[in-house]
Symmetry: C2
Subunit: 253 residues, 2 copies
DNA sequence: CGAGTGATTGATCTTTCTCAACCCAGGTGG
DNA sequence: CCACCTGGGTTGAGAAAGATCAATCACTCG
């Protein structure tokens, strides 16, 4: 399914992006990551990149576009574990579990960069800082998953919607002032699958938030109009870590 | 609060336990872990070992007893993210996040072994296999958290209770035949906080499972009477990895 | 222009919660 | 030894959040 658009080796543009996605690397570590062979791909919307329970041997860095991680239960039910945003990695957990823990499906057209997991992990032997960065990345992912549990367990539908919006806001524009617009290329039906709610009920919460003047939401973007208020309504606490200097600016022209 | 019962250094008994908790280590790696200084502690029931948002500098291995990871939201609401069982580690995520992502509270009297996180991570520089094992451990934890999301998002109360029981069964007696009894030292109220349900409703599901002859459950133990049936009822899939040769046999006499 | 997707709203039904008892076992103080 | 107290479990009844069913609308795309 995936369309390979660029030639197999685009070493010069891709490596630095990976180095940028991982926190706290030293200069030599960044350098060696930059030289890691990489393949840039452009993937259509609605493409399954990884099947649940199917082993993966490559690490995928998202440059642009969104994806979801989801698990199907029964014919009509699916649970979205979380969203993959530009700058996020996918495929790191797979190696240790021998199988991807969930399906990964693109929600928009995506630009991704693929690395050999084997080669990357081999580097950790000589560059322990890379191993540490990978652990830090896993810890970040766990924190985000923990927030997902928080939402689903004890929060009302209203709180869940707010909490998720704030997370997705923070992951794109941490600390930005009220009125900032961020991407929101997902349907309400997808939000419902993430929050364990029906589409209808999600819509009612969104309508309510609009009437209250707390957010603006159209087909592709979200504007948070009163972060502080939303924060106190949902008990949201930032767990997102500041990312290295912005990823987007490093995109191929 | 914690009572220090044993003398500060019990190097000979504790280290091997840590080596045993981590998957796929080589012999020299096991050896060096065995020599890591360690402190054995016996902790009373209901002791908070780690506060949310408070940094941690030590890794804690549970030898016996259970604990919970929980996050409070509001005065009366708490969400249990998961349970810590004998053989599990706590404190690994903390270092990378600078803060524990949740409270850790003992549910029974616990025997734990503490290691310096700094010293352990220092070892990863010379023994990359240890770093890999830590990543594998983090990946395992993420898989268990993912299952928790699955339960909370799209499952009925009945399914949630079954699914959790099977997870806790597998984590103690993976692959054991029907009729096997495992520890279950947690109250229904705690199960409710884990599954995002009210105590009353949890009780109704438990009653139902008893009437249907699928499980036996008393104050401290759970007997799974028909694993296959329960599995198909809840869609449960084993994600637990086989542990190294049993931990209990290594306990100090 | 017709088809399909996603959003929106109303009406009704179901699951789960909340409140309120009551029971039982184990521990404690007199 | 007993009366009492407490934590946990069990059950019933009414209330509420959220699901389901159904219909309409706006928009995009071939």
């Amino acid at each position: 399914m995936n369309m390979l658009v660029t030639p197999p080796k685009t070493t010069d543009a891709a490596g630095p992006r990976l180095a940028r996605a991982l926190p706290g690397l030293t200069e030599p570590e960044r350098l060696v990551l930059s030289n890691l062979p990489a393949v840039t791909r452009f993937v259509r919307r609605n493409t399954t990149l990884a099947h649940e329970a199917q082993p993966l041997d490559r690490l995928r860095l998202f440059i642009s576009g969104w994806a979801k991680r989801s698990v199907g239960i029964g014919p009509e039910r699916q649970q979205v574990l979380g969203f993959v945003l530009p700058g996020d990695l996918d495929g790191l957990v797979a190696d240790y579990r021998q199988a991807a823990p969930a399906d990964v499906v693109t929600l928009t057209r995506c630009e991704t960069v693929e690395f050999s997991l084997f080669e990357l992990l081999h580097l950790t032997q000589d560059y322990p800082g890379i191993g540490a960065a990978l652990r830090a990345y896993l810890a970040d992912e766990a924190a985000i998953l923990g927030d997902q549990v928080l939402r689903l367990g004890r929060m009302s539908a209203y709180e869940r919607v707010i909490h998720l919006m704030l997370e997705l806001f923070d992951r794109q524009a941490l600390g930005a002032p009220d009125g900032t617009r961020v991407d929101f290329p997902i349907t309400q039906s997808l939000v419902a699958d993430a929050l364990g709610l029906s589409v209808v009920h999600v819509n009612r919460q969104v309508m309510r938030l609009r009437k209250e003047g707390l957010v603006r939401l159209d087909r592709r973007s979200l504007t948070v109009l009163n972060f502080a208020k939303l924060q106190s309504l949902s008990g949201y606490r930032t767990r997102i870590r500041e990312r290295a200097p912005d990823l987007a600016s490093a995109r191929a022209s």
